[in-house]
Amino acid sequence: MKITGLRKTLFSRATLRAVIALSVFLVLWEIGSQSKQWLGFTVPWIGQVPAPTAVLKAWVELLSDPGYWQSWYMSTLRVLAGFFAAMLIGIPLGLFMAVNRTFNGLAFPSFEILRPIPPLAWVPASIIFWPTQELSIAFVTFLGAFFTVVINVLGGAKSIDVRFFQSAQSMGSSQWDVFRRVVLPATLPSIVVGSAVGMGITWEVVVAAEMISGGGGGGGSGGGLGFFIWNSYVGGSYEQIVVGMISIGIAGFACSELLRTLGGYFTPWLKKR
């Protein structure tokens, strides 16, 4: 039953169409990039982009380059640091704001004033403040995820159906019990959503921060994927730019998927019948 199901998705019309569409996309890209040689004139915009085949070749070469993997490692480390810091501070803060009205009145307006400032605008201030480059990147990364996480947790906790509280109360729950067994699980789905979105933003911010601040203290190959891209640009190896872009895409996608799977594991009641 399962195998037939798998076969069905693999050979379904949708998959077929996806393959066709992606192939057409790649072929067009190849033609566009090679237009100078093949057609005798340069197609605007795409003409400047390295061809997929060249990118693939560059990628294969990079796979055995430890510097490339070092970039992966550095970026992932920064993302994880910023992300976990955001979760660690953001979730309790959001919950506390939802539960305590006074604190909410105190902190929420200030929070709303700071929120519209794009995280990247904090980069210079962060570099001035933190003693090391590494910390300043981590801080900006943290900010990127922090606001999203807090807003999601707060929204989730505030939209809990009042009947849940009422029935818990009428069955004799204490305050702490209501918090632990009603508020927390009821907010879990929004925590999952918030962290998945936050993860996406984190990757965006890391790349930008690495580009702007010119890589980590190590410089050169130690600077993470964002720096890898910038370095490739400065060094004129344009194929590597695209490799870097795809790598970050894969990394971001994998992290978000991982979070969703984890989230699904923590919220079993949300599964479809």
């Binding site: 019309r13 949708a14 169409r17 996806a18 066709i20 569409a21 992606l22 996309f25 915009w45 795409i46 400047q48 982009v49 006074t102 009145g105 105190l106 902190a107 929420f108 307006p109 200030s110 004033i113 700071l114 519209p116 400032i117 794009p118 995280p119 990247l120 605008a121 904090w122 980069v123 210079p124 201030a125 570099i127 001035i128 403040f129 933190w130 003693p131 996406g200 990757w203 965006e204 790349v207 930008a208 580009m211 702007i212 994927l225 964002g226 891209i229 910038w230 490739s232 640009y233 344009y238 730019i241 695209v242 870097g244 872009m245 795809i246 970050i248 895409g249 894969i250 971001g252 978000s256």
Partner: protein
């Protein structure tokens, strides 16, 4: 007698009444005939009977003298009028009623009729509810008539609505002021600014002392002769804001006019989605900032790459949300449209587009947010002007207070643009605003 019964049966309130009850009603009825021009009753007369027109026609006139207006509807055979007779709190006639030709009427004492129905409350309710519907119909019809009745003057009604609207707002404001919220907010702000002020300028904590201080920033911002060259009085400040706004404007506009239709088609046509969406999804996880070098390669100059980056971020958010919006439209809406004879294209225009509107505007809100996000990044990396550029050059040229000026301005401008998008959404979705206003009272 039977003739009376047949006649009663034609009158709207009595259509469902069983024959034996009708006979009882007929027993209460008096039959009378009038010549043309006869006045049945005047305004203010005591209302005792209700009337059913047997033949001929009568006309109602509301108001007196020059204010007098004829009611649009002329009462003819089978129509009922004079219902004030069955009301308890309105026992005087509201109109003057005149026979337009030779007219035969059946009159029934209101009190007697009520008493008859009291005997069978079930039946009474049905008849009374029909009466109610009828009164409803006839007395909500002409606006001209409503304007004549002193209580319902159009202008007064508008005034009244406005007044309640205003009092409601005032009420809400006073409630808000009575609640601890505004004071907590002020305390919160003071704490935030206090921390900034004390840590940087008073206590000069390590690391903090390098940061631009509160007073320095404020002085700079309001100085006519700024130390670091940027304040509310320098034209450069407005030039930077304008450049950023123009970039956002172009990018956001392009993203909307391309992203919304793409999203609509993605959601609407399954075939289109199956072909296009995979490509879309493959490109989407790549962070916008990773496009920077490639964008510089693809587009010459420094302006286009920045706009391109901003556009790209907005575009993905808009298209994706629009698609989600179309997918969440309840199937029964498009089914209802096809039932009612709408073609495929009409369904798209009349159902899919307005149905997806709430999601489109959510998408646009997100889109303007990410547009600012990537604009700042783009301006920091390349670009000649703009708020991101201000922040970055202030850093490299060690003019720290202007970093904060840039950040604060960014926050304010970003907030304003997203508020504008929200207002545009409210304007275009009146139905939603009114629905929500009703629910969230």
């Amino acid at each position: 007698m039977d003739q009376l019964v047949t006649l009663l049966k034609r009158a709207m309130p009595f259509q469902m009444v069983p024959d034996d009850t009708l006979k009882a009603i007929a027993g209460l009825a008096k039959y009378e005939s009038h010549a043309q021009g006869d006045v049945i009753y005047h305004i203010g007369d005591y209302a005792d009977d209700i009337y059913i027109v047997s033949s001929g026609s009568v006309q109602h006139t509301l108001g007196i003298g020059t204010q007098a207006t004829h009611l649009d509807k002329t009462m003819r055979s089978g129509d009922v009028f004079g219902w004030a007779a069955v009301l308890e709190n309105q026992r005087s006639r509201l109109a003057k009623t005149v026979c337009l030709e030779r007219t035969e009427l059946i009159r029934i004492n209101g009190e007697d009729l009520i008493n008859l129905f009291k005997a069978s409350p079930a039946l009474g309710d049905v008849v009374m509810s029909r009466f109610a519907t009828m009164i409803n119909k006839e007395f909500t019809l002409p606006e001209a008539v409503a304007a004549q009745v002193p209580h319902f003057t159009q202008a007064q009604a508008t005034m009244a609505t406005m007044a309640t609207g205003l009092t409601l707002t005032m009420f809400r404001v006073s409630q808000w002021l009575k609640s601890p919220k505004p004071y907590l907010m002020l305390i919160g702000f003071s704490i935030l600014l206090g921390i900034w002020y004390f840590t940087v300028e008073v206590w000069k904590l390590p690391r903090f002392e390098d940061m631009p201080g509160l007073t320095v920033v404020v002085k700079e911002l309001f100085s006519k002769d700024p130390t670091y060259g940027l304040s509310l009085y320098t034209p450069e400040y407005y030039q930077h804001v304008w450049v950023s706004l123009r970039r956002i404007g172009i990018a956001f506009f392009l993203a909307t006019i391309l992203g919304v239709p793409l999203g609509l088609f993605l959601g609407w046509s399954k075939t289109f989605r199956e072909y296009v969406f995979p490509v879309f999804e493959t490109l989407r996880p790549i962070p916008i900032l990773a496009w920077v070098p490639l964008a510089i390669l693809m587009f010459s100059g420094s302006e286009t790459p920045v706009i391109y980056l901003t556009f790209l971020a907005s575009f993905f958010a808009t298209a994706l949300n629009t698609m989600l919006g179309v997918e969440t439209i309840d199937e029964s809406y498009s089914r209802a449209a096809s039932c009612l004879g709408a073609s495929k294209w009409q369904t798209f225009r009349e159902v899919i587009v307005p149905g997806a509107m709430p999601f489109i505007f959510t998408g646009l809100q997100i889109s303007i947010g990410v547009a600012w996000f990537s604009l700042v990044a783009g301006e920091m990396v390349s670009g000649q002007f703009g708020l991101g550029y201000v922040i970055n050059t202030s850093y490299t040229m060690v003019r720290y207070p202007t970093i904060v000026i840039g950040m604060v301005t960014l926050g304010a401008v970003g907030y304003t643009t997203s508020a504008m998008v929200r207002m545009a959404g409210d304007y275009m979705m009146q139905w939603r605003v009114r629905e929500l206003a009703l629910g969230g009272r």
